[in-house]
Each structure stands twice: as structure tokens, then as C-alpha cells.
Amino acid sequence: MAHSEDYQKLEGKIFTKSFFILLAVVLVGFFFVGVRFVKGIGAVSNMSDGYPWGIWITYDVATGTAIACGGYAVAILVYIRNRMQYHPLIRSAILTSMFGYGLAGFSVMVDLGRPWNAYNFFIPSKWQANSAMFEVALCVMAYSTVLIIEFIPAILTSIENSKWTRMNAIRNWLHPRIAPDQKTMTDTLEAVRLGAAWLKPRLNKVLIFFIVLGITLPTMHQSSLGSLLLIASTKLHPLWHTGFLPLLFLINCVFIGYSIAILESIISCFSFHRPYEVEELSGLAGLVPYVTVIWLSVVIGDLVHRNQLNAALKWDFYSCFFMAEFLLIAVGSLLLFSKKLRRSPRWLFVSASLIVLGGALYRFNVYLIGFNPGKGWHYFPSFGEVMVTVGIVALEILAYKVFVALFPVLPSAAGHGRKAPGRVQAPAGAPQREADFNGTLSPIPVQYKTAIETQN
């Protein structure tokens, strides 16, 4: 189960120019978080009693967790549908899920008016099973924990193989009086290494049960994110208010999850100058249109069932947003039906972006755009509000960049890299890895192939 050979650390510097730019954005965001805690939510945001949920809930929680569903969607594929060839994608998908959910949790804490009372979620006498929010909160907390457990093997591998050079450098840099004794430190680190080596096989044995929990929990809370708005029957526009909200949100997160896994792989390969994983991605992309077609049929079927089809074709404010959401997803899926386009990273990128945008717009439509509390209420996010969200996203990217350098997360280029017909050449200046590719179209990585050949 370890599959450590599938993954590798990204070589290269951590403290690059983009690191510091992202850091600056994060600091601006956290400045506004500070203002919010000192002067109240009203001082930073444009939320009002009519629009009590702004972009912090709509983007960071409702949309952010869907975008963080890559781990969920890929785990279904690998462990339930038994497609082990996608396994190399899963660790980076889980890492983004971990940050996505962790930061959604963080922005909830910024958004909550009385966060110090949040402990009430753990007091059974306060539980309120009728509330979709209660279900979402518990599931998201549990899922974040599960994601951390799923990621631990990568950390353990790192601990096992680490030479602790940086740690030793810090120790040598410290004044001898405050620096820990060399021998004590070596002993402690050795103990940590042994502990990691002891824990890893044991964790790997039970890991599958956590992985399955990591599939069950998102199924529950992603549908409940849709249930959250069921109650707003007088406020949510009839185009979106339906008893199918839970089902639509669930399917929505699955196709967003796959599309994000595709986007993330393409973007990280592009920015880290690694070869594109065209084999895996085109296979993954082949699934997306089937899921979106189910979603689109439920949407249309439901509109017909509730006699709201003419509301969709009215071309007023709401109808336009509905059409935008619908067409983005439909066009993105149509592109993916073509086998040829599926093998081109550029078209994969375009179609996956369209689908993610459409899926995210659906969630915005349900939470904000289609939400009308009555006359006289308006909402558009303030600068500070947007910066808090942007800061949180920047933190996510920052942490991703640091983690892929510290831990073996990205698919190992030597492990499964190969020259696929549609593969785009790495940009100029990329480290020369061409020698690593075995130049065949075989889906079997070279080291296994040789192993199989020698056995035969």
C-alpha cells in the first residue's frame, strides 16, 4: 500500500520570487482578518442582515470544498473503481484537498461571529440533527482529520529518509550556549526516525479504512452543502430551489473534483517544468462528460418537473446566470467527448477550466446570485472581504509549493513518465529529464517492465 516509489519530492529552491509575492498577498489578507477580530465583521465585509453569508461562505466553504474534492473524486476512481493506474495522481490530490478543507475551516472561524462557542459542536446535548449545518460541520471536521491521516505516510517517508541537514545547520548557527547537545539531538532524531519506521507499516495496514471514510464523508457533507439552502424556499430563486439540491451538489462536486485533478496536474507540471501526465489525464477526462451529462439531465428534468423551464429562458438577470452556468459545463463536457482533444494538454486545460468555472458558478448562483432576501438588500463583496479570501487562496498555493518540496507528493517522473503522442515539450529552461523517459507507449513504467521481463 505504500507506493512510495510512485512519488518524488520536487527538487529546487523553496524561497523563490513567487514565494515572496504569495507571502505578501497572504499578509494583506491576514491584516484584514486582524481588523475583523478587533472591529467586527461589519468593519471588513459588506455582509448585511439580508445577505448574512458573503463570499467567505460562498467561495471559501461552498465552492472551495468542491474544488478541494479532487482527493475525493480520485479516491473513488482508484479504490472503489479499482483503477490503480491513477494512483500516482492521488497524493497531490489529497494534499490540495487537505489545504482546501483546512482553509475552508479557517475561513469559517473568521466568518463565525462567536467562534469561541464552537466547542458546542462536541457537546451531545447541543446537537441538532435537523440542521444541515450541523451535519456539514461535523463531517468537514472529520474529513479534515481523515485527510491529514491519509497524508501522514508521505511525511513518515520523508522523516525516514531525511538527513536533517537543515536542522543541523540551524543547530550550528545557534550560539553554543543555547544550542542543544549534538549527541542528544542525534539520538532524538534517531528515535523519531525509528518511530516513523515503526508507525508506517502499521498505518498502511489500516489506511484503507481511513481512505474509505474519506470517500463516505464528502458524499455526506457535499450533499448537505446543497441541503443548507433547502430551507430558504422564499429567498432562493425557483431556478435553483429544488428538493434535488443535495443530489445536484453531490454530482457537482464529483465533476469539479475530476476537473480540478486534471487542472492541478497540468498546472503543476507546467510550473514545475515536469512532463505532462497525458495518459492518466485523458483517461480521467473521459469520465467527466458522463458525470456532467447526468448532472445536466437532472437539472433539466427537475426544471421540467417543476414547470420552471420558461424561467430559465426568460433572459432576465437570473436566467442569464443560469444559462452561463449551464453552458460552461455543457461546452466543457462536449469538448471532452472528443478523444483527440482529450489527449491535448491545452484542450484538457480549457475544458477542465470551463467545467470548474461552470460548477463553481452553480454554487455561487445557489448561495449568492440566486439568493434574494427581499426588497432593499444588496450585496457585493468589499475589498477587505475579497482580500481575506484571496489571502487564504494564496496561503493554499504557498503551502502546496512548500509541501511538494518537503515531501514526496508529485508523481515520480522516473516512475511513470513516458513519451505520449500528445505530450507537450517541457518549456525551455526546464531541467533535462528526457533521459528518464523510456520512449515507449506502454502504460507499464520501465522499472516494472524490466522486473516482469526478468521474471519471465
Binding site: I80, N82, L112, S131, T216, T219, P246, I444
Partner: protein, 312 residues
């Protein structure tokens, strides 16, 4: 292999879709909700109201400490001589507004919590900070439990719960029928006690409905022939009579089915006895473990899918 799994996958999706279809169907079959007419409430008669706002000032005087209310200054009033809230807010629980359609057609209207028979805010509060008292029917708020998620604000069709946006330690503000102040001391809410024209009548829902029907019968020309709150959203304990259509007074048209009934039915169908999640987890565990064993068992045969089985 690929085709089989795709079929399985579609089957799975189809099955879950059918399940949800069934529950959405169940939700539409509206069962009659039991209404408790012994709960406490108020009848506001807009035709009797003269807009003196004595109820507003009494409410604030009585509840300012307990309910975290404060006076709101108007822009023109730099000395703070008047309390001039423009709407219900984090400082104001009840409010009188004037709706003027023309010189002849106008009406006052009083806003405060409707104390629903099946309150949305109680249904959605994740930590039971919003509660409905079983005997009095008062919808009460406990700031010591509230996490400030504002889901009650999203859920309330009347936009009653208000949040203190400008405070670092905010809370929700809404009418509790003077439960801890005037009602406990004098057995009547402060607004009803103060009203000089008898526009606010305090009592049990049963008596209020009877009174309202008598008034409608005696003066059919004066009123719109409808008691607002009798059936709206499953029924409310705060009832209204008026001479103008209620939606013009800012009271929304709401179907007789309580919004909370609809959402709870779907939520309950999905999570009944927690059976579905447990079943889903067990089924997925079974499949995943089987897949894993299958991958290990096949050993080194040249199946491309199994090239990750080695343990380290």
C-alpha cells in the same frame, strides 16, 4: 473490464438518484402539521395603530440589558436625542414602519419575531442556540451557545434575526416576547402592555384568533379578509390584521407548508437512523478491501493496472 465498471458506476449513480427522487417526492406530500393554539402570541391590528412608537421605546427600555439593545442615532441628530432605527437591527427588536401608497391609502406595520409554530431558525441552528419553548411557544435565543454562523438569518423567511455586524463580540438579536423581563414580572410583553390604542393584543393564540375573526366579521369593509400568520409558513403566533395587502406591508407571501418541514423531510429521509451513511461506508469498505486484495493476489502478472502493489 472498463465497460463493466462504467455500467456499474452508472448503476450506482442511477440508484442514488432514484433514492433522492423518492425522497424529494415524499417531501412534496405535505402532511398536516399539528398546530398548538395554547401558545402565547400577539395580535397586531394595523388599523388601530397610530404609529406613536411607544412599543419600540418600551421594548428597548425593558430589554436593553438582557437583550443587548442600544439606541440608534439618526444622521441629523448629532446629540442623540431620539432613538431612530431605520430597520430591525442588532440594536432593535421591534419596529413600527409607515407604508404610504397614496394620501388616502397608508398603513403602519409592526415588525418583530413571528414566533412560528415550526420555526426555521430553530430547525437550522446547528448547536441548539435557537429553541422553541414547548409550553409558551416562545422562540428563544441563547447567546452562550450561539456560534454566530447566521444560518438563522438565511433561513428566516421574515428576516427577523439580526446580527451585530459592528461589534467585535457580536450576537443575534430577536424578540423573545420579554420572556426574561416583562413577561416574567408582569405576565405580558412590554409592547402590548404599553400600547395606548390596543393595537397589540397579548394572549394565547386561540383567543387571538377568535378576537381577529370577530373583528373581521364586525368590520368587513375595514380589513383585508385575511389573518396573516394563521397559516403562513405553518402558522405563526404573532398575527396581523390590516387594511392593506400584507405583501405591501413587507410581510412576504408564504405557502402554508413550513419551510422547515420541507427541508427536514429531505434531511431525515437521507439520514434516517444514520443507516444510509453506515451502509455506504460498509459497502465501500467491502469493495475497496476486495480491490486491494485482488491487486495483491494477482502478483506480478503483466497487468498494467497492478504495477503499484509492492509494499515498502
Amino acid at each position: 473490464m472498463k465497460n463493466t465498471s462504467r455500467r456499474d458506476f452508472l448503476k450506482l449513480v442511477g440508484a442514488s438518484g432514484a433514492g433522492l427522487f423518492a425522497c424529494a417526492g415524499a417531501a412534496q406530500a405535505h402532511e398536516g402539521m399539528r398546530i398548538n393554539n395554547d401558545e402565547l402570541g400577539m395580535l397586531y391590528d394595523a388599523t388601530k395603530c397610530v404609529g406613536c412608537k411607544a412599543c419600540m421605546s418600551a421594548c428597548k427600555r425593558v430589554n436593553s440589558d438582557y437583550g443587548s439593545l442600544s439606541y440608534e442615532k439618526a444622521k441629523f441628530d448629532s446629540d442623540g436625542l431620539w432613538d431612530a432605527p431605520s430597520d430591525l437591527s442588532g440594536s432593535t427588536r421591534t419596529l413600527i414602519k409607515l407604508f404610504k401608497e397614496s394620501a388616502k391609502s397608508w398603513s403602519y406595520v409592526k415588525y418583530s419575531c413571528m414566533h412560528c409554530q415550526k420555526p426555521s431558525c430553530v430547525s437550522v441552528c446547528p448547536v441548539s442556540a435557537m429553541t422553541k419553548e414547548p409550553v409558551t411557544g416562545i422562540v428563544d435565543y441563547n447567546k452562550n451557545t450561539c456560534i454566530g454562523c447566521r444560518y438563522c438569518q438565511v433561513a428566516c423567511p421574515y428576516n427577523i434575526p439580526k446580527f451585530q455586524w459592528e461589534k467585535a463580540l457580536p450576537q443575534i438579536v430577536k424578540c423573545d416576547l420579554c420572556k426574561n423581563t416583562n413577561l416574567r414580572e408582569k405576565g405580558i410583553s412590554a409592547c402590548a402592555e404599553t400600547c395606548p390604542t390596543g393595537a397589540i393584543k397579548f394572549g394565547k393564540r386561540k383567543e387571538l384568533l377568535e378576537e381577529a375573526q370577530i373583528r373581521l366579521k364586525d368590520n368587513p369593509d375595514k380589513y383585508i379578509a385575511h389573518i396573516y400568520g394563521e397559516h403562513e409558513g405553518g402558522g405563526t403566533n404573532h398575527l396581523y390584521l390590516a387594511s392593506m395587502p400584507f405583501n405591501k406591508l413587507g410581510l412576504p407571501d408564504i405557502k402554508p407548508e413550513a419551510p422547515a418541514e420541507f427541508s427536514e423531510k429531505i434531511q431525515h429521509t437521507i439520514y434516517k437512523g444514520f443507516i444510509a451513511p453506515v451502509a455506504l461506508y460498509s459497502a465501500l469498505c467491502f469493495i475497496a478491501v476486495k480491490n486491494m486484495k485482488g491487486n495483491q493476489g494477482k502478483g506480478d502478472d503483466a497487468n498494467g493496472k497492478d504495477h503499484h502493489k509492492e509494499d515498502k
